[in-house]
Subunit: 299 residues, 2 copies
């Protein structure tokens, strides 16, 4: 008598040649393996109909859940960490800007002249923590008697300084997250990282949706990532076609003339497109060569 073996997620089943069920179980099936052959496609179809019975339903459901969970668990790719981190950094930037503006508004009750004289937020925060009103006014050469700022009691000054310290902490936290992003980019997409830089590279992956999607994109789309608004304005109103999206923030742009920024963006997008493909398919590090080509072209 010929035995037929059939395997699905629930295990292995052994049937006789009339496709009647004999026994179940991986081990038993394996023991019988030398005596059994696998079911043909035609036989499988008949066997499968057996599993439609209610008794298997719950078992299938449970197994399916386990498989799905495992699938989800393994689907967490490193570029998900990249998009999370870059989104956080952008959020932190927004948060810092809003809170610093609030700090300035508050501090200007006390010392408006100094606040107006320092434009960089981070330096402003550091300085007001380090020095008192008298020293700060001296620095900008304003006599204490002439300031429009009100005198505040210590108890009203303290919460303001607390906010300044909070800001200092937030600046540091953002810096740390940026360092982590750089490390993450080097590990997961060394080529994109080398050409675009960590922040712009991560932002491109975020805008594309994933490294996979970035790798599949034509370079002309990469060139305009982040310029969606301008692009739609162009399509709607016939305004100028945008030449670059967030690639305008790339250091190569600062080094080149405005007239060729469109060209630079196209060349950058070309190389980033190659880099993304190499990174996605876990290729070697080729970015040094690509970068050199870019630098030679625009120098």
């Amino acid at each position: 008598m010929e035995k037929i073996i059939f395997t699905n997620v629930l295990g292995s089943f052994v049937f006789d040649e009339n496709l009647r069920f004999i026994e179940k179980g991986e081990e038993k099936a394996l023991m019988n393996k030398h005596k059994a052959r696998e079911s043909t496609i035609k036989q499988s179809k008949i066997i499968l109909s057996n599993f439609k019975s209610k008794e298997y339903f719950e078992e299938f459901y449970k197994k399916n859940l386990v498989i799905t969970k495992k699938g989800l668990k393994n689907s967490v790719k490193e570029d998900l960490l990249v998009t999370q981190t870059i989104s956080l950094i952008k959020e932190q930037t927004r948060v810092i800007n809003t809170l610093v503006k609030r700090l300035r508004e508050w501090y200007e009750i006390y010392n408006p002249e100094f606040s107006k004289s320092v434009h960089d937020h981070e330096s402003f925060v550091k300085l007001i923590i380090k020095k008192d009103k008298k020293e700060l006014l001296k620095e900008i050469k304003i006599d204490e008697k002439n300031t429009m700022g009100a005198d505040l009691e210590k108890r009203d000054l303290e919460p303001m300084m607390e906010l300044a310290k909070e800001m200092e902490y937030l600046f540091k936290a953002k810096e740390k997250q940026t360092e982590y992003l750089e490390d993450l980019m080097k590990r997961t997409c060394p080529n994109v990282n080398e050409i675009a830089g960590a922040v712009i590279g991560a932002e491109l992956i975020n805008l594309a949706g994933s490294l996979k999607k970035l790798a599949e994109m034509p370079s002309s789309t990469i060139q305009l990532l982040g310029a969606e608004k301008a692009l739609f304005r162009h399509m709607r109103t016939g305004a100028k076609v945008p030449k670059h999206g967030i690639l305008i923030q790339h250091p190569l742009m600062a080094k080149t003339k405005k007239e060729i920024h469109g060209k630079v963006a196209r060349a950058l997008a070309d190389k980033i497109s190659i880099a993304a493909k190499v990174d996605y398919f876990k290729g070697k590090f080729v970015a040094d060569k690509l970068k050199k080509m870019l630098e030679e072209k625009f120098s």
Copy 2:
């Protein structure tokens, strides 16, 4: 010969009876005071025309600046600190909410089941700092093998935990600012503070613009502060008239039935209106009596 003295921001001037200028200077004028009398209104008018000459213009301008600066400095009232602090606290709340949502999204890559099981943001942050994934899963009775969360390396976990610590810091900072607001409200508007509570009281001052404006407002306007949207919707579309603005957050609302919330809001606004007037004119502490009346009415 009769001497006439005339004083303005530039100092004191002495004239002869024909209104010819003799000498200038506070001291000299004072020395001569027993011999001089102040100018009459008619004389002043003539004297003033002398000051229209260019030679005085710059001096007037400088003096004016000094006076304006002094005025600005003294105009900083304590309720400006109130509005700054409550605005900051509201901003901090928004910031915390945005960042916690980001933290959760990020953390759910790693341990989705636990994040979904704890709804309170602050407890969530505290717990993930205190315990590791294994302990947290045990707490919600989920087998580690069944979690959908991905395993993350230490170096990918660390920045996430940094964000959690940042959140913990921000929660504490908000708490400190709230304590300061309570202190500030007790000092500057003890009556409003007693009846409305520090946060709602400060928010009412903020919505009104200042303590002065709140004191001048009819209580029916106070009743609807914070319900501007609903009020305009009512005027535009004929939707229901709102019965309360931010007063809905007052603890007395939670203690009373929904049907009488309109009544409660009106009574609250009445007492807050009185309290604001007393606080603005630096009156005595009467809020204990007002509060008692409210409590007796709605118990």
